[in-house]
Symmetry: C2
Subunit: 293 residues, 2 copies
């Protein structure tokens, strides 16, 4: 069961995202169509929900969190489009539909992703309800989470893992980058939406929460990849095991992996337990560790 | 003859860029190597020179302009890496060396570009000498120049032009996006480096300058593409005409194109003539219109 507040936040983000990108002319329509195709394809919208609920917990303006959350989802969407390319993971199916490059071609898929990534920063920096300090802090957190020491690094380690066995430390570094960094950025953006400055001590606790749910999220993904059907997940499954790629299932059996995800979730929850109004973030962590798709 | 101040600025930018990106581990070395390969390959560094000289003209802190200029060059470099990909312009040669994907593979080339684009924002937003307002304004200008209504749009129109004849208006829109938008962003970043706010009237004059030299730059590029050798330019030539692509040479002969570039340069110069200390920007415009490589 998805908690109601997640569904409400996700619907608000979807509405915000659907306002982006015009019809376009005969020369540009394909770009904006490709961007909307992937942006409005659904998905759990976990990252913007994290931005919004972190901001709400801290008493911030949720209109700011909605813009910042839309920006994080734009970056997440670009990363999926590029990851699915033939020279990367070469996936044909995403969220139950053909991947972006299958519909629009590789050139447009790359450019649609480049545009989404770039426009995400403008979405933060144009937010009319936020101070310059908040916008600068938020854009920096997004850049650091998504860049060459965060998400991009994770994807590079993932490509390396296509042809090499990874050590447990390298697997952790992969996921701290590939999924963890943007999840951490999401809570940071929620903090900056609530006008916390970068040295506020509450950020550290919330980041510890994010790092642990991020890792738990990936452990669950690895479990589902080898136990669930493609129909339920809406994407290709079992490809990691087939390719001999290192995953958490290389080091754990299903029961061990579930216990590890539980332990990470407990660590996440205990990190924010002392913050007032933390109930929704706790509920979100529980939902993520118990999900079956 | 390259004016001395351009060579000095370019050397300072090169030194700044060479501080980016570490050695890396066995999993990440290929990413950082790919980024440094293209970032430090040389090039005229016109965009960062524009940032620095605009800031200097306005009496701003050139240390800020150096960081902002490095960011623009990172975005320019990402755009070259992605444009050269097989599914885009499919170029093997760039600045006299094999293109990024030829050396590092398509997957790493895409990720190196994604990382450079993302890290450019952090380079602006981490600048220790700039106010939050300056950093937020500069990052916004970069995002708007590089994104789906600027450079990315230009590249999409360019891809459309591979298979369609463009109207003169579409050709102008292509170049206003593909090269013009980042050149405009460069002077905006120079203005924000000097702490001009977005409503300062001087920005309008300097942007008019940038728009006109940007278009002149492209007209000269089109002339050189059909009159110069690959050896001199360090890249493939004559490919536009060969592919039947619309260029300025579709609508002008060499003499007419040179006259058009001259007219654009005159418009650029007259836009900034009333600003004190405009000499270097004038000299830069003259250099760009007279260059033969």
């Amino acid at each position: 069961m998805i908690p109601t507040f997640i569904e409400k936040d996700a619907a608000a983000v979807h509405a915000r995202l659907s306002k982006l990108y015009p019809e376009g002319s005969r020369t540009t329509k394909v770009l904006y169509d490709a961007q909307k195709y992937s942006l409005l394809a659904g998905g759990k919208r976990i990252r913007p929900v994290l931005v919004m609920e972190t901001c709400r917990m801290l008493g911030g303006d949720v209109r700011v969190a909605l813009d910042y959350g839309a920006a994080v989802e734009m970056v997440h969407t670009y990363s999926l489009i590029h990851d699915d390319l033939p020279c990367m993971d070469d996936d044909d199916l995403r969220r139950g539909r053909p991947t972006n490059h299958k519909v629009f071609g590789e050139d447009i898929a790359i450019l649609a992703g480049d545009g989404l990534l770039t426009d995400a920063f403008a979405t933060i920096l144009c937010c009319p309800y936020a101070t310059a300090q908040s916008r600068a802090d938020a854009a920096l957190a997004l850049s650091q989470g998504a860049g060459s020491y965060g998400m991009v690094k994770g994807q590079v380690i993932d490509m390396f893992g296509e042809t090499h066995a990874l050590t447990p430390e390298e697997l952790l570094e992969l996921h701290r980058g590939k999924t963890g960094a943007l999840i951490e950025a999401s809570v940071r953006l929620g903090c900056h939406a609530a006008e916390l400055t970068r040295d506020d001590q509450r950020i550290e606790a919330i980041v510890t929460y994010a790092q642990n749910i991020g890792l738990a999220f990936q452990v669950i993904d690895d479990i589902l990849d080898c136990t669930q059907s493609a129909e339920v997940l809406g994407k290709s499954v079992g490809s990691d095991a087939k390719d001999g790629k290192t995953t958490f299932m290389t080091f754990y059996d299903v029961q061990g992996a579930r216990a590890y995800a539980r332990e990470l979730t407990d660590r996440a929850i205990s990190a924010i337990r002392t913050l007032p109004e933390c109930d929704r973030l706790v509920e979100l962590a529980e939902y993520l560790v118990q999900r079956d798709y």
